[in-house]
């Protein structure tokens, strides 16, 4: 076998700590190595040409490239090899950058290590077998999880391209947090006015199957061939019969039994309800925990008044299974609840601000509802405790955000803007009121964003004070806000009527559970991880699963929408062809040697292993062996390690190859 070794300098990234010429020179002398060279940028066109030329000139059978992580350029070098006539699986990458030059300082030690890494790759490539990619069919249907603005946008984009969409929303209505907002920055246009037409479009779209009040409970399979199980929670309303007249809601005797979560607990709702008037679908839900019928079997008022007989107390949760080709996750965020937390909680509370204790210390979404014309105060600014109009209002930014001691280190990105918006909305409605904003930094990057903040300061006379607030306490119906103006260097105290805390954006509590269900990674906060922070921001590391909106990190509406469209187009790229090529890293059983213990079948996470009968000449079954369905196998190799007689091999990572790597140490 003739092997070519190519050592990349990566500009200076590798060569600064690894003596690349020495590595290349050392490899020249190794058995099997026909050709060895180093070059400044192997991934560049001249670099790739160098590889191709060398393959032709020296009649190489396999190549080893010492460069960056295989996650970066493995594909580049494989393609180069293929165009020169080498099987792509006879290309091995030695990770000299991420695993060597970037993490070590000592040139001698790093060079030694680089040589060993390349040697390991050479030994492996010697035993690599040519493999061909596996073709699998693609189901051209997208599952969109989350019906906020990101999910709506992604669903509409995909559906308008002519592909089917299943849109799953946990709440009774789509719309998400955007439907709760009063106005949006920096244009101050009405949030619901621009959102509701989109919601209706989703509802009426023939290609979109809308499943509200539903959750994804299981995802199996792989890119192009997922199988999703969706739990449709019982609404106790027959959706086909309900006309959405709302009579049941007005007649329900449990008027104020439950907090209205759409109004951020600033109002109440009955047991049977639609979250808000423009809800899509406009079909109520019965809350079993409140409904009298479920408590004592009596009432049934809604049944009596519904002339379409749509109420169904006996309705049960149902499970739906859908074949899916790609998944777009758009589950959004929630606001950091700043009430008191326990010692073992990931987050700590804000006892010093008395949230949860003082009714007039509220969070941003609550203020949105107070400012909203459709909200509990019909758009008049009134404080929750006594309904009086606050004449002095204090906004505090970075509550939770940028506060590692409370558990959140990141900037929530949208608070600077929405606080400016809140202050303006307040000043527009309470002309004689005073508005103060405590901030640490103003982060208003974006088109017309900084101008917006300046408008609040210059035109609307909002007082911005640079400094964090230390404490809030109540004194005679006023809230004493203790802060320091760090620019003037003077302590300040404001006796406010209402305090609005711009609390952090955090992922939903069950985001990690969903991530585990789908099989995508998430960070320590619970935000889903993108495949690459710069170049693959809308893809998860799991092929065929894309991310959109604030479930990936804090985002405002335009960012969520553009990310959703990007995710949609990623899914459509996948659907552009009928079949999909998959890495041929799959396991195979040596049937002669298989002892038929089927431990492999027990450990296989994908159910790819079947029982196969081996018959003798007389047609009598004389043994049973394991058989691996190549279409289902995902190539984890758990079976190979479990197999006692070592009768299973994983293509591309077979035991001989790994032994060779160990031996090269």
């Amino acid at each position: 076998m003739k092997i070519g070794v190519f050592i990349c300098h990566c500009g200076e990234n590798i060569s600064r700590t690894v003596d690349c010429p020495r590595v290349a020179h050392f490899c020249e002398g190794l058995p099997g190595v026909e050709y060895s060279i180093d070059y400044k940028y192997m991934c560049s066109d001249p670099g790739q040409k160098m590889i191709k030329d060398a393959i032709h000139e020296h009649k190489l059978d396999a190549i080893v490239v010492g460069s960056c992580s295989p996650n970066m350029h493995e594909r580049t070098f494989r393609n180069a090899a293929v165009s020169a006539g080498i099987n792509p699986f006879l290309v091995e990458i030695a990770n000299l950058r991420e695993h060597c030059s970037w993490v070590h300082d000592d040139v001698e030690a790093a060079t030694e290590k680089a040589i060993e890494l390349v040697r390991m790759a050479i030994e492996k490539v010697k035993r690599d077998k040519p493999l061909t990619k596996i073709k699998v069919p693609v189901t051209k249907r997208v599952l969109v999880i989350g019906g906020g603005i990101a999910g709506i946008q992604a669903a509409l984009d995909v559906a308008n391209a002519g592909y089917e969409v299943v849109l799953v929303e946990r709440e009774p209505s789509i719309g998400g947090h955007m439907s709760q907002l009063s106005e949006t920055f920096p244009t101050l246009d009405c949030s619901q006015c621009i959102l509701t037409p989109r919601m209706v479009e989703v509802y009426q779209h023939p290609k979109i199957k809308l499943l509200t009040y539903s959750e994804v409970v299981k995802v199996e399979g792989f890119i192009g061939n997922f199988k999703a199980t969706i739990k449709k929670k019982a609404r106790h309303i027959n959706e086909d019969l309900c006309s959405g007249c709302g009579l049941c809601i007005t007649k329900c005797p449990t008027k104020k039994k439950a907090y209205n979560s759409f109004e951020e607990d600033l109002a109440f709702r009955p047991a049977i309800y639609v979250p808000f008037p423009q809800a899509v679908p406009n079909i109520p839900v019965i809350d079993e925990t409140v409904c009298m019928y479920y408590k004592n079997g009596k009432c049934g008022m809604c049944v009596k008044v519904c002339d379409r007989e749509a109420i169904d107390f006996e309705q049960k949760d149902t499970m739906l299974v859908a074949d899916i080709g790609a998944i777009i996750v758009a589950t959004g965020y929630k606001l950091y609840n700043i009430d008191k937390k326990t010692f073992d909680s990931k987050y700590k509370g804000y006892g010093e601000y008395g949230y949860g204790k003082y009714r007039d210390v509220i969070d941003g979404l609550q203020f949105e509802r107070i400012a909203s014309a459709s909200g509990p105060t019909a758009g008049e600014i009134k404080r929750p405790s006594d309904g009086k109009e606050p004449k002095k209002i204090v906004f505090i930014q970075c509550v939770g955000s940028r506060d590692p001691s409370k558990g959140i280190s990141y900037c929530s990105k949208i608070c600077c803007m929405y606080t400016a918006k809140h202050a303006m909305l307040y000043k527009h409605k309470v002309h004689d009121g005073e508005a103060y904003v405590f901030y640490m930094d103003i982060r208003a990057g974006g088109k017309m964003y900084d101008e917006f903040v300046r408008r609040a300061i210059e035109e609307d006379q909002v007082k911005y004070i640079r400094g964090r607030v230390s404490r809030i306490y109540e004194e005679n119906g006023k809230y004493i806000v203790k802060g320091e103006d760090t620019i003037a260097g003077v302590p300040v105290e404001i006796d406010a009527d209402l305090v609005v805390l711009a609390t952090a954006m955090i992922p939903h509590d069950n985001a990690p559970t969903l991530a585990q269900t789908i099989g995508i990674p998430y960070d320590r906060h619970g935000f889903f991880n993108e495949a690459h922070p710069k170049l693959r921001p809308v893809e998860s590391t799991t092929a065929g699963v894309f991310l959109a909106g604030a479930c990936q990190s804090p985002k405002d509406i335009p960012e969520s929408v553009s990310m959703a469209s990007a995710a949609a187009s990623k899914a459509m790229i996948l659907f552009a062809s009928d079949t999909l090529e998959r890495e041929p890293v799959v396991a195979k059983v040596n049937e002669d040697l298989c002892a038929g213990c089927f431990y492999c079948k027990k450990v296989c996470p994908f159910g790819a292993i079947e029982v196969k009968d081996i018959t003798d000449v007389n047609g009598i079954v004389y043994k049973e062996v394991a058989y691996i369905n190549q279409g289902v196998c995902q190539g984890c190799g758990t079976c190979t390690a479990t197999c006692l007689s070592k009768s299973i091999e994983l293509a591309g990572f077979n035991n001989e190859e790994i032994f060779a790597e160990i031996a090269a140490l």
Partner: protein, 232 residues
């Protein structure tokens, strides 16, 4: 940021030779105060053509096990400080001055001495910077350097208190007050409460002594502060 730009601008002016009386020239010593490895220190000396001296920020880091750069100047500490109104400079500014390498201003102010060590700032700091501990270290450094202390009386009280412990192992209030008054010549303060205390039997005329007084004295001797380790 504004403050720093202004300082730098002033520093530039200073370079042109026309030194203003209040110009603060920022030194290289406000680079991250984590103890640097020997090789990088050498590199530093080569480039800057001066030896890397252990800065006061370094000393504070060593004493407190925390990086001075942790403070991002949000001001929550100053906002909640109960004795903020009596201070010349806000507590967060003291950290800023140390971060900038303007040690004299920081050490001369009365702020560290007025700090009551109530831990309000440390408890509420969003970036988990223990400001109270930082203030302890600032005072300690000030004593080591022999800097003129902004609050003489408070220091005298601490000295008097520690003297009592050094000699008796426990604090002895009568001796403490007498010692403090001798140091400050503030003879009339507290005369209103002392007789009452005697009457109520709260103050004993004789000190309470620890049996093993020697061991306590030894602690004092072994940990005594060495003055003027390096110039300011």
């Amino acid at each position: 940021m504004i403050c720093r730009e202004a300082q730098t601008r002033k520093a530039d002016k200073n370079m042109s030779g026309n030194a203003l009386k209040d110009t603060k020239k920022l030194q290289a010593s406000f680079v991250p105060p984590t103890p640097s490895a020997p090789d990088t220190a050498q590199e530093h000396s080569e480039t800057a053509n001066q030896k890397h001296i252990r800065s006061i920020a370094d000393e504070i880091t060593e004493k407190t096990f925390q990086n001075v750069s942790l403070c991002y100047q949000c001001g929550k500490c100053s906002a909640g400080c109960p004795v903020r109104f009596y201070m010349e400079v806000a507590p967060n500014k003291i950290v800023r001055l140390i971060q900038l390498g303007l040690y004299e201003e920081a050490l001369n102010s009365n702020t560290p001495w007025l700090c009551a060590g109530c831990l309000t700032c440390s408890t509420r700091c969003p970036n988990s910077f223990d400001l109270a501990k930082f203030m302890d270290a600032v005072r300690e450094v000030a004593l080591e350097k022999g800097v003129e202390v902004g609050e003489r009386d408070i220091l005298n009280f601490h000295k008097a208190f520690l003297d009592q412990i050094k000699h008796h192992g426990r604090s002895y209030e009568v001796g403490l007050v007498a010692d403090y008054k001798m140091r400050t010549l503030n003879l009339l303060q507290d005369v209103d409460s002392a007789p009452g205390m005697f009457v109520k039997g709260k103050l004993s005329v004789l000190p309470h002594n620890v049996k093993d007084k020697k061991s306590v004295k030894e602690i004092f001797e072994k940990t005594s502060i060495k003055k003027n380790q390096t110039p300011l």
